[in-house]
């Protein structure tokens, strides 16, 4: 079982060797699988495909904006581009790729054979996948305002009343709604699966206080998914009713409220940001300690901060709506709530720094990306605090400053941590190492491209450039900045191609990894690379947060130091 090379890039690889099963058999195996590892890989592969597609859309937009008075794409196409780019990146790249990693890693990290509900897991993947296909089918079949073949063009948050039948005739908006609805169903299914797996499938000894931090953060993310994606689903149902059954939820002519849609959307939309960023934190929690050769600093504080972020993030949505005019009371509340969320986030950053402090840092590519994440996430957090101040937001709401801010989070923090995770876990998944040499090129090119694009994107925002304009006049003083931003985007594209090449090349030619190439401490490294279908031949038992450290250093195990915090004081005194 384990000697079998796993099939990620299956089809061609399988077909080329005669001893392997036939192409159709392999395909059948992937379609019918309920194995959490295969489903995780399908999630990641599907998300990577859409990452390239939506990245390509971003490039088209950047080409259009690079010079003033450009006519590379028409305004109609541009509207479709930013709508589909945003929707794809959030629903069909961010969520699937993070859930893919969760699917693959969580059972391995808690010593389980599979997820709690393997069939539901497959169902969740497929329904999200069909949602993505539905969204992109609109490019062929969607009859929108501009005739057949027009994509959704209402923006990724689809404000009412633009989405009503009157203003968006045809079916392009319906494609958006249905695709998001399908993806939401899949997301809730996977989140449910992750919670049930984490609670009910842990191996003996894996108490909640010994759970790897990655699993803890996925637990928090999943719980947030229920309370965030639920409202989104409800709002999409309402929108469908408005468009198909003639109801008046968001119909201002019949007394309906357009602001209600904003509230409902952002009750989903803001926790969503944390749903996306918490898994990135989760990767950092595993990767930074291993390459600092130290245990994570402040495990309980990390858990508490994550849970705190989860709760606070549910009460900050209206900071997306300062420009609506909510009144001083609501504005003050959401300003303060938004600022408060920087406290648990700050705790996390300090804990990562304290983990690095005094450690023997190994600058592998994975670690380089993690350090880039630390720095960039801090900057993104600082511009976030700036925007959380309502009067400042009134000035810059809907400008390129906002675009720069959230791309700093999404690319600078989440995508960097995803790259880091790819370099870290690729050996476990394929049994081969990614090339460090190519990886360093990838890292440096990407860092340079990222900073060129997103550092300089703040400036046209401050100069008053609004988002979602398809072109601009030459005399606005935005030209040079847009040129720099667009050139940075091109560098990022080159770096990403390098990464894709590295993945393919290393799959065939990379150095053989072995079970535990990083000398790491969590359970997934105790099984072969790639892991067999049953993960562990013998169910492991653990006695500390770093079970593999205990095995590697029996003379100095962690379990000596992780005393039970919840024991009554008297029994602790006795044991002294």
């Amino acid at each position: 079982m384990a000697t079998q090379t796993p099939a990620i890039e299956t089809h061609n690889a399988a077909a080329s060797k005669p001893s392997r099963p036939l192409w159709l058999e392999v395909l059948h195996g992937w379609v019918t699988t309920v194995d959490h590892k295969k489903i995780g890989l399908m999630y990641i592969g599907y998300a990577l495909f859409f990452l390239v597609v939506a990245g390509f859309e971003a490039l088209l937009m950047r080409i259009q904006l690079a010079v003033p008075n450009n006519h590379f794409v028409s305004p109609q196409v541009f509207n479709g581009l930013f709508t589909v780019h945003g929707t794809t990146m959030v629903f069909f790249v961010g969520m699937p790729i993070l859930f893919g990693f969760g699917n693959y890693l969580i059972p391995l990290m808690i010593g389980a054979r599979d997820m709690a509900f393997p069939r539901l897991n497959a169902f969740s993947f497929w329904i999200s996948a069909f949602g993505g296909i539905l969204l992109y089918y609109s490019y062929i079949g969607g009859s929108g305002l501009y005739g057949a073949g027009s994509a959704p063009d209402v923006g990724w948050f689809a404000y009412a009343p633009l989405t009503s039948r009157v203003f968006s005739p045809g079916h392009s908006t319906d494609y958006w709604t249905l695709a998001v609805l399908l993806s939401g169903v899949g997301t809730i299914g996977t989140a449910l699966n992750i919670v049930a797996t984490t609670i009910s499938m842990r191996c003996p000894g894996m108490k909640m206080s010994r759970l790897p931090l990655l699993v803890w953060l996925y637990l928090v993310t999943s719980c947030m998914t229920f309370v965030a994606v639920g409202p989104l689903t409800a709002a999409q149902i309402m929108l469908m009713l408005d468009r198909y059954a003639g109801s008046h939820f968001f119909d201002t002519q019949a007394g309906g409220s357009a602001v209600l849609w904003m509230h409902f959307f952002w009750i989903f939309g803001h926790p969503e940001v944390y749903i996306l960023v918490l898994p990135a934190f989760a990767f950092a929690n595993e990767i930074i300690p291993v390459f600092s050769r130290k245990a994570i600093f402040g495990y309980p504080a990390m858990v508490a901060a994550s849970v705190g972020i989860g709760f606070i993030s549910l009460g900050v949505w209206a900071h997306h709506m300062f420009t609506v005019g909510l009144g001083p009371g609501a504005n003050t509340f959401f300003v303060l709530a938004t600022m408060v969320i920087s406290v648990p986030t700050g705790i996390k950053i300090f804990n990562w720094l304290a983990t690095l402090w005094g450690g023997k840092i190994h600058f592998t590519v994975s670690m380089l990306f993690a350090i880039g994440f630390l720095f960039q996430f801090l900057v993104a957090g600082l511009t976030g605090i700036m925007l959380s101040v309502a009067p400042f937001d009134w000035q810059l709401g809907n400008s390129y400053f906002v675009v720069a801010h959230f791309h700093y989070v999404l690319v600078g923090a989440i995508l960097f941590m995803l790259f880091s995770a790819f370099y870290y876990w690729y050996p476990k998944v394929t049994g081969r190492m990614l090339s460090e040499h190519l990886g360093k090129w990838h890292f440096w090119l990407f860092v340079i491209g990222f900073h060129l694009t997103f550092d300089f994107m703040h400036i046209p925002g401050l100069l008053g450039m609004p988002r979602r304009i398809y072109t601009y006049e030459a005399d606005r003083g935005w030209m040079i900045w847009n040129m720099i931003v667009s050139s940075g985007a091109a560098i990022q594209a080159v770096a990403t191609l390098l990464f894709v090449f590295n993945m393919v090349w290393s799959y065939f030619k990379g150095a053989v990894a072995g079970a535990d190439p990083w000398d790491a401490w969590t359970l997934e490294w105790s099984t072969t690379s790639p892991p067999p279908a049953y993960n562990f031949a013998k169910t492991p038992t653990v006695a500390s947060r770093r079970p593999l450290w205990d095995l590697k250093h029996p003379e100095d195990p962690d379990s000596n130091y992780e005393t039970e915090q919840h024991l009554p004081r008297s029994s602790q005194e006795e044991s002294l």
Partner: protein, 289 residues
């Protein structure tokens, strides 16, 4: 329902592969797809949905379908790859354990209350000497909370106002409690020269921060504050709060159990003699130096 960890000897049970989840997802997607294309697609989707529901149901009930998988992997030996040199014998002090002792949370609260009271004394003296009313400092503090007091006269601030008392109590009380808690948490980290740290360093640092921020926090306070007396009352707070905090008994944290027996038994009377030499629990100590 618990089939998670079956015995090893007759293979492992894994859920058998099935296409029904995929078909169900396709069915539901097609039903929605029909809403934007044509009713026939929806009808096809409905048929698939029903078929897949039945199929899935029969997979799970009355018993979940399983397939047996033979265990065929070799044992993975687990060892650290960093074994270029022989590992030093594990030293009990190789791990930094912080802190071994700490204050209870109530300690900080007590210190904060005591310091808060002590701080009021120099403030009252200052008010009495300069403005001949002990309420002046209180009203000045409270003025930061009321917009209408921004341009108040000295005479107004010298009178007693109940609103001022309540506002000043809240502002002063909360700040004192927070700083007291901070003292409780921080003093064990700076065990040397507690008087200098608590009584002078912290108040001066705090004054410095406040000096730069006060213009934004409370402009009226910024105009009329007397920094000399402010520093004196800060030092009064620091000394009393630090004293009260240091008076309280420390409690041992759970980390204490990890100390070597000799320390725990009290053979080393002073914990600080036994400072860990190595700063980290880095496991690179077994690489060649």
């Amino acid at each position: 329902m618990h089939v998670d960890h079956p015995k090893q000897d007759h293979g492992l049970h894994l859920p058998s592969p099935t296409a029904w989840p995929m078909v169900l997802a396709l069915g539901i997607a097609l039903v929605l797809f029909g809403m934007v294309t044509s009713g026939i697609v929806s009808a096809l989707g409905a048929v698939l949905t029903i078929a897949a529901t039945v199929g899935w149901f029969r997979q799970v009930l009355p018993h979940e379908a399983h397939e047996s998988v033979e265990v065929s992997t070799e044992e993975v030996p687990i060892f650290s790859s960093r074994t270029l040199a022989t590992r030093l014998p594990a030293d009990a002090t190789s791990r930094k354990i912080i802190p071994v002792e700490t204050f209870r949370i109530t300690t900080g609260i007590k210190g904060g209350i005591a310091g808060g009271i002590a701080m009021a004394v120099p403030a009252a003296i200052f008010s009495e000497l300069k403005y001949h009313s002990i309420w002046y400092a209180m009203n000045l503090l409270a003025a930061g909370g009321f917009l209408s007091w921004a341009g108040a006269s000295n005479a107004f601030l010298s009178e007693f106002h109940l609103r001022g008392l309540l506002a000043a109590l809240v502002i002063h009380g909360l700040t004192s409690l927070l700083v007291g808690l901070l003292y409780g948490a921080m003093l064990p980290m700076f065990p040397k020269y507690p008087i200098v740290t608590a009584g002078f360093m912290a108040p001066l640092l705090f004054t410095g921060i406040l000096h730069s921020a006060i213009g934004i926090v409370s402009p009226i306070l910024n105009q009329r504050i007397d920094w000399f007396w402010f520093v004196i009352s800060q030092i009064a707070f620091g000394l009393v709060c630090g004293f009260v905090v240091n008076l309280q008994a420390k409690v041992r944290t759970p980390q204490f159990q990890a100390l070597p027996f000799s320390v725990r038994a009290g053979l080393h009377s002073n914990l600080r003699e036994w400072e860990p030499i190595e700063p980290t629990d880095s496991d690179d100590k077994d690489t060649p130096q």
